[in-house]
Symmetry: C2
Subunit: 345 residues, 2 copies
DNA sequence: TCGTTTTTCTAGAACGTTCTAGTAGAACGA
DNA sequence: TCGTTCTACTAGAACGTTCTAGAAAAACGA
């Protein structure tokens, strides 16, 4: 049963291996009757079609694109934002009969030679919110694998599909400034706080390019405001909850909290509810992304077309017709009920 | 720059290709000094390490396991249950430096030859809630790829990690029967209702093995109850919402609604809230899985160790030390506030 | 000192496919 | 009728690695 290859089938039918190969890949290169006969014999012999690895080696196409995710895989899935991106990417991948290879990015085994990024058979890579300067990026570059990032990079020859983070955040900042807010806490994703208690950070310690740019944008739009950066852990609802708890229970409450993702903001919303605080009246809350749950919660946020972002990344990697290598997607400030004027004091 | 292979490096250093290969894969097969020299030369020439496809072909190991998901990829991610499974699987995959290959299962291209399941270079496959008899399963079997399912199959030589669906559902059924419920609606995942209006189904029309078994379990524990099966679409909150709306707005309200997944049940919870119905008093609601949100919502549910399920599947596929090929995981009825006695009438 | 084991490296054959170049024969146009 | 184009196929060389078997040299034990 095992060990049935193209050659076996070719010998059985009495044709050359090339012809059997063509029967599978280029049906117009041989007569229909012969093709029928070949496929029938293949079925009979239990031949399951050309071997994927051999094909990949010979043709130079792996039939898969890698997806590099922040930190542990588990966190990635818990954010509807990431899910939306993947859905868009998967849509295009499906169109080109290509699979998605999720690559764990544990920093531990990067040092050793045996990490997934090094080993993976992929034709391209989508880099989703990976900290700038991550060793995996260098490995990819070394291997000569085309990569598309969701962050605007410094190099002019790097591909990306991104938003104007600074401008997007500035829009939100203007909105907050107009409402009279001058004391704002920003909730960010950070590995430091992952295990235990929330931490207060400087801009330099944030690590993720997009987050840094958003903070810059807020600062630009609110030059007279005090901005503090707090993290309750990785990008998840609980982290936002913990970060907000830390802020709300301190002596020094801000008038507004901005989550750099909606899940963080929604976590903060939980913390406010528990404390009997009404968002938009007692304290203003805003997020980023506009995930479905944001609308349900009435969260003021900055919408970005996440599914389109995934699609665009897919097209750049897979569709030869796509020539544009750097795409700036539009964003939109969505004002809902969680933002309101800063309380007078 | 391009075209640098093992041979190029070997020639440059003045050793055989085998030795260069060993420098990467079997460091103890050559002297440390020579290894240093080889790696240094490789770096210099811009060699990024052994080609993944060639290695896969020669060694017979692809370094990836496939994950087959229900229907469109997007739905998969939106359920925390699926996310938990993936997290467990990813954990083991990471340990064995293996990647996860997500395979879109669009039924359209299965007919044609060019589907991902046919093409993918994988060493094994995790089958997650795929309808019984799906053509992709046959393709896998044909290719001789070891597969582990999350459903108990009929064949004794099939690997699976599952729960006793009948028994688990029966526990819940007994709980409901004890509370006096005799009129129950079960909310299920179904493609038929995906586009438009909710549908009422017979057991035969459900399609998913696990769902069918759960319904059997409920029936077994509540022989005198009337059980209706309703679907509002795919497995997502909105589907549960739509399904529950259909049921609640009809003349013929049940006294209890059981979602065959927590997301469905939580959707139903939304529908109840909108109508001013208090769960546990006006109507009993229960789910399946015990995802994190279930605890927060006070949802009565059947807990299953989903992350462990993912881990176990990973071990069966990757860990040679694991010999057990069929695993039954424990379940536990978690009674919370959404279940209460059936109203007298 | 001599046989034995260990270390360190090599030659050459796989692995299963697809690609390039080409051939024989049929069909075609004038 | 003769060149030309098309159709239907084939031979044999890649693709870049790892594996098997083995050889030369070094280390070891008595």
């Amino acid at each position: 049963m095992a060990g049935v290859t193209l050659k076996t089938v070719a010998k059985a039918v009495g044709v050359s291996p090339s012809t059997v190969s063509n029967a599978y890949n280029k049906p117009d290169q041989l007569s229909a009757t012969l093709r029928e006969r070949i496929l029938a014999t293949a079925q009979e012999l239990g031949y399951a079609g050309p071997d994927a690895s051999a094909r990949a080696l010979r043709s130079g196409k792996a039939g898969a694109i890698g997806v590099l995710f922040t930190d542990k895989l588990a966190y990635a899935f818990s954010d509807p934002y990431a899910v939306g991106f993947l859905a868009g990417l998967a849509e295009v991948a499906e169109e080109f009969a290509t699979s998605l290879l999720l690559m764990p990015l544990s920093s531990t085994d990067i040092a050793g030679g045996s990490n997934a990024v090094q080993q993976a058979a992929i034709d391209g890579a989508a880099i989703f919110c990976v900290p700038s300067g991550h060793p995996a990026l260098e490995i990819l570059a070394n291997r000569g694998i085309p990569a598309v990032s969701t962050d605007r990079g410094d190099h002019p020859d790097l591909s990306w599909v991104a938003i104007d983070e600074v401008e997007a955040a500035a829009q939100l900042g203007e909105h907050l400034a107009r409402l009279g807010h001058r004391d704002v806490v920003v909730l960010v994703d950070n590995a430091q706080a992952a295990g235990g208690r929330p931490v207060e950070l400087t801009v330099d310690q944030v690590g993720y390019t997009d987050c840094e740019l958003r903070i810059q944008g807020l600062q630009k739009a609110m030059p007279n405001a005090r901005l503090r950066i707090v993290s309750g852990g990785h990008n998840a609802l609980e982290s936002g909850l913990r970060g907000a708890e830390y802020v709300l229970d301190s002596q020094d409450r801000p008038t507004a909290i901005v989550g750099l993702s909606d899940v963080q903001a929604l976590g903060a919303l939980e913390a406010m509810k528990v404390r009997g605080l009404t968002p938009g009246r007692d304290l203003t809350l805003a997020g980023f992304d506009d995930i479905p749950a944001a609308a349900a919660a009435g969260l003021t946020t900055v919408r970005q077309p996440i599914k389109d972002k995934g699609r665009a990344v897919g097209r750049i990697l897979l569709d030869p017709a796509t020539t544009e290598r750097q795409l700036l997607m539009p964003t939109q400030l969505i004002v809902r009920s969680t933002s309101g004027p800063a309380p007078k004091h």
